[in-house]
């Protein structure tokens, strides 16, 4: 047992550094349903099985069955920790006879499904609140559509997060801490190894007392403030400024250090949402914690989120840095404990035990309070309905007739062609010429039905006939990697999924995310 765990840690090491052991656990406990073992389907599968996700395979037809079986065996070879299962039953049959079959899944991924199956399946999954990822490779175009009612992300891992230093609203413990520093009486060694945060805080205190409590606001004032700090650099006997890297760091960081602390607008929006304010016993812990944080902000936090508790590395001696770091860490722990009390109150108010949400989860939530994200996608029914089609998005994108939106429209047109002719356009060479006109009729029919006043160039209609519903491997592989990672995001609730339509154009190596 220990050996397997150790070898799994070794095998998964490179990805554990991205989503941690807790993220890995979600993959291994997930139940992912993948429909269709086409080139795209098997690529998605490979990219899910390799990192350890548990998979369930569905095939669409008899050729697909052989492929599915072979694919399952091959994929189990890829990762012996994963037990792939496959079911020889078409999704349409299951939708007829046993739609609740799909309720058990963490996510359903439908590949190369005809429009009718997509819509039927979409409806069942929407009612069951099971996330649905639609994928299609068509010629040199890749298409993905995520359908999820509400997907919460605590650990979004933003690329460029601003630090949470609170220099504009120093908390009591921080103020006390900087009181213990007297820059003017320090010896050179201490002076040069004082963390820049403390340097800025000290000079800010001085500035505030000299400017009526007003911090530096515009460029000139900030320049003047920087100059104050610069003048604080120690000078040697000849009046030449010493080399004090910490002061240089302070000067460099003035701009960001003076950023006012505030609740990000995305988080404000979440505070104002229905789920946050109408808490019931059915509410997910995400919203309970969010409500608790909102209560904190309105009360103990004085309008600010719980302190994050981390500081960047900076030139300083070990003790000064660790002491300062501990000030922030302790404040963060304190704030998290306060939020915990709010959580307890909320849970009690609808009869749930306080242990329902762990301290660990609350701490993680507080640490990520600035980065919380919620993704909501419209249902397929809404996208396809004439009454709720997103005309604005479509027409504004199509102001540029070569925008990726044109491929979305062509894919819809091609689906229409399939409905009418029970085949896709241009599959055989002799069909290409004639199908161009037939496809054009479908395009016009589509645009008319949705009252879309857009122009689709003939070139694209011609190109889609040329594609002949081909599924070239390199495009399938690009989509396979993309889709697998989006599925992993849904399963792990880490990193932010796209919303809600992704188009990849392998001809130009460009892509776009659309809201449809």
């Amino acid at each position: 047992m220990a050996a397997t765990k150790a070898s799994k840690e070794q095998k998964y090491d490179r990805q554990l550094r991205l989503w941690g052991d807790h993220g890995q656990e979600t993959l291994e406990n997930a139940h992912v349903c993948l429909i269709n073992a086409t080139a795209t389907g098997t690529e998605i599968l490979k990219n899910l099985v390799l990192p350890g996700t548990q998979i369930f395979f569905l095939s669409n037809n008899s050729i697909g069955k052989i492929r599915a079986q072979a694919a399952t065996e091959l994929l189990q070879e890829l990762n012996s920790d994963v037990s792939g299962n496959f079911v020889e039953e078409s999704p349409d049959k299951l939708l007829d006879n046993d739609p609740e079959f799909f309720h058990r899944f963490t996510i359903v991924i439908g590949v190369q499904l005809p429009e009718s199956t997509c819509l039927r399946l979409g409806s069942v999954l929407w009612s069951a609140a099971v996330p649905f990822l639609v994928c299609k490779t068509y010629g040199l175009i890749g298409y993905m559509r995520l359908v999820v009612q509400e997907h919460t992300v605590i650990e979004s891992h933003p690329d460029n997060a601003l630090e949470d230093l609170r220099l504009d609203q120093p908390f009591a413990e921080f103020k006390n801490h900087i009181q213990s520093y007297d820059l003017d009486s320090m010896d050179k060694k201490d002076h040069s190894h004082t963390p820049w945060i403390i340097v800025v805080a000290k000079y800010l205190e001085k500035w505030l007392s000299e400017h009526n409590g007003q911090p530096p606001k515009n460029y000139n004032e900030k320049e003047a403030f920087r100059q104050c700090i610069r003048e604080g650099i120690l000078k040697n006997e000849n009046g030449v400024p010493e080399d004090e890297e910490n002061f240089e760091e302070a000067i460099k960081n003035v701009n960001t250090a003076l950023n006012p602390t505030k609740v990000p607008s995305a988080v404000e929006d979440l505070f104002n949402s229905v789920q946050c304010n109408d808490i019931t016993s059915q509410t997910l812990s995400f919203w309970v914690m969010l409500r608790a944080v909102k209560e904190f902000v309105l009360n103990e936090g004085n309008g600010s989120l719980p302190v994050r508790g981390t500081i960047p590395d900076m030139i300083a001696d070990s003790q000064k840095f660790i002491n300062l770091q501990n000030v922030y860490r302790q404040k963060a722990m304190q704030d998290a404990a306060t939020v915990s009390k709010h959580v307890e109150c909320l849970l009690q108010s609808f009869g749930k035990p306080p242990e329902s949400i762990s301290e660990k989860d609350i701490k993680l939530f507080c640490k990520n309070a600035s980065f919380l994200r919620v993704v909501r996608c419209r249902s397929l029914a809404e996208e396809y309905s004439v009454d709720s089609v997103n005309k604005d998005e479509i027409t504004s994108c199509m102001d540029n007739p070569d925008s990726e939106m044109v491929f979305y429209l062509m894919l819809r047109a091609v689906d229409r062609f399939y409905q009418q002719h029970s085949r896709y356009p241009g599959v055989y060479n002799y069909q290409v010429e004639d199908d161009i006109n037939k496809l054009k009729l479908c395009v016009n029919n589509l645009l008319q039905e949705y009252s879309l006043n857009v122009n689709i160039k003939d070139d694209y209609i011609h190109e889609f006939c040329r594609y002949g519903a081909a599924e070239p491997h390199t495009v399938a592989a690009f989509l396979g990697g993309s889709a697998a990672q989006e599925a992993i995001k849904i399963i792990s609730h880490q990193f932010v999924p796209f919303s809600n339509t992704f188009i990849y154009n392998a001809m130009s190596q460009t892509s776009a995310t659309l809201q449809l």
């Binding site: 900076m314 003790q319 081909a470 491997h473 796209f498 190596q509």
Partner: protein, 462 residues
């Protein structure tokens, strides 16, 4: 990109290929028995049908597929995360003559993404196992494994080279190699001597794919600033003022290990040896405890010692796929290739950004003119060395500098051979004038980052 020049290149390559094909004895045996009905349908649609977005040069033909299957030779550099994906994508797209180079052996931590390898393959050479896998599972495909790139490789006449490397140095070397193969007739580039280079790179959830036509488009060195130099912690922080758990680990690795030689004299720290990492881990914990620093873990220790970059299957799949698409486009002319750099990031949704990287006028690799370097005659040679290693546009690793002094070729400084390093070390503190160097004279510099010696012109400032 100059499409006209590019199409000339394609034409020359095509003519040469036709010549070679005519001379070859066509073996219709095994090669054709492994084909089955409809096997290449998806590919043929792009080779045999005209369309509005094809390259201006493109002519639908049933022969293009045969060219790809029988004749087109691809060199894949690297059989790791990107390499495995590339081999699979290329083989399934109709490229059946592939050479793959990788000098590494398989490690357990590769198995989460390098899917041509199994647990039982750990320890075996990546190139061999990858080639075996593809050859046995994809009928008709012939992948030849290599552990090193020999110069003879280039006489095999590769049509396209694809890199899936994890090192900037190796990329620059390859880049320099292809530039050195360019032929100029009276200062005009012969398009037939161009071997397109498709380069892919990944790191966690980020990646990029680019198309390089050596001598025509931006090369690796033109955009060296896109690869910022690796940041190392300052020595004084490690030695006396640690603040982060990483500092404690570097302390154990860089200072304690050489001092205490825990596994014997001359035994180098091996990041792949769990016992070595365990030792570093323990000593790092002790160091951290001294300074009340939390956060030292075994995983972090290993990550710092081995400079581990996190990696997943999905990003490698995406970038390799994009590269393979470009190989297909260039080999077939079915579409206009990427011009010339695509960036990918799927941390937040999926983001791509495509742009044309521009050639640098004074690029150290492809600008073909000796680069001027300006120093005062009283500058020390050390300053020249620092310039070569620290300049963002050069980023050399351990340059060897030679010059012609009084008619004789003189090695001014060379680091890689201990005896010569010792002999030439005093030169570093001598001035350029003392070394006998003259204004406007050429210095020749060799380094791992460039396969050919680079020429610099020394310009004295007053």
């Amino acid at each position: 990109m100059n499409l006209l020049l590019f199409s000339l290149f394609r034409e020359k390559k095509r003519r040469r290929v036709v010549e070679l094909t005519e001379k070859m004895v066509v073996d219709g045996g095994d090669g054709h028995n492994c084909e089955w009905e409809g096997r290449w349908n998806h590919v043929k649609k792009f080779l045999e049908r005209s369309g509005p977005f094809t390259h201006p040069d493109f002519e639908p033909s049933t022969e293009s597929l045969q060219f790809m299957l029988d004749t087109c030779k691809i060199l894949v550099i690297g059989a790791g995360g990107l390499g495995c994906e590339l081999l699979k994508d290329l083989a399934l797209s109709g490229f059946h003559n592939i050479h793959v180079v990788d000098m590494d052996t398989i490690d357990v931590s590769n198995l989460n993404r390098q899917f041509l390898f199994r647990g039982k393959d750990v320890g075996r050479p990546k190139a061999d196992v990858a080639a075996d896998f593809i050859n046995s599972r994809i009928p008709g495909c012939c992948v030849i494994p290599l552990k090193f790139i020999h110069l003879f490789c280039f006489h095999v006449e590769f049509h396209i080279i694809v890199c899936g490397l994890d090192s900037v140095v190796a990329r620059r070397w390859m880049n320099g190699m292809l530039l050195s193969l360019l032929v100029y007739d009276d200062g005009v580039l012969d398009p037939g001597s161009i071997i397109p280079l498709i380069d892919g790179g990944t790191e966690g959830f980020k990646g990029n794919a680019r198309v390089i036509l050596p001598g025509m488009t931006a090369c690796i060195d033109c955009t060296l600033e896109l690869y910022p130099p690796q940041v190392n912690f300052p020595m004084c922080t490690i030695a006396s003022m640690p603040r982060l758990p990483e500092h404690c680990i570097e302390y154990a690795r860089m200072l304690l290990w050489p001092k205490e030689k825990p596994f014997g004299d001359g035994v180098v720290l091996d990041g792949d040896d769990p016992e070595h990492i365990q030792w570093v881990y323990q000593r790092s914990l002790e160091r951290a405890a001294e300074f009340n620093i939390t956060g030292v873990t075994y995983r972090l220790t290993q990550g710092v010692v081995k400079r581990i970059i996190p990696a997943v299957a999905s990003t490698n799949a995406v970038i390799a796929a994009a590269c393979a698409t470009e190989v297909f486009k260039i080999a077939s002319s079915a579409f206009i290739p990427l011009n010339n750099y695509m960036v990918f990031n799927d941390v937040d949704g999926l983001y791509t950004y495509t742009f044309e990287a521009e050639r640098k006028e004074n690029c150290s690799a492809c600008s073909q003119v000796p680069l001027d370097m300006h120093f005062s005659p009283t500058s020390k040679l050390q300053e020249v060395l620092d310039y070569l290693t620290e300049s963002a546009s050069l980023q050399m690793k351990s340059p060897a500098i030679t010059a012609t002094v009084e008619g004789k070729n003189k090695t001014l400084y060379l680091q890689s051979v201990a005896s010569i390093e010792q002999r030439t070390r005093p030169n570093l503190s001598k001035t350029l004038k003392e070394l006998g160097l003259a204004d406007r004279q050429e210095l020749a510099v060799a380094d791992v980052t460039t396969p050919q010696t680079m020429l610099f012109r020394l310009c004295f400032t007053s």
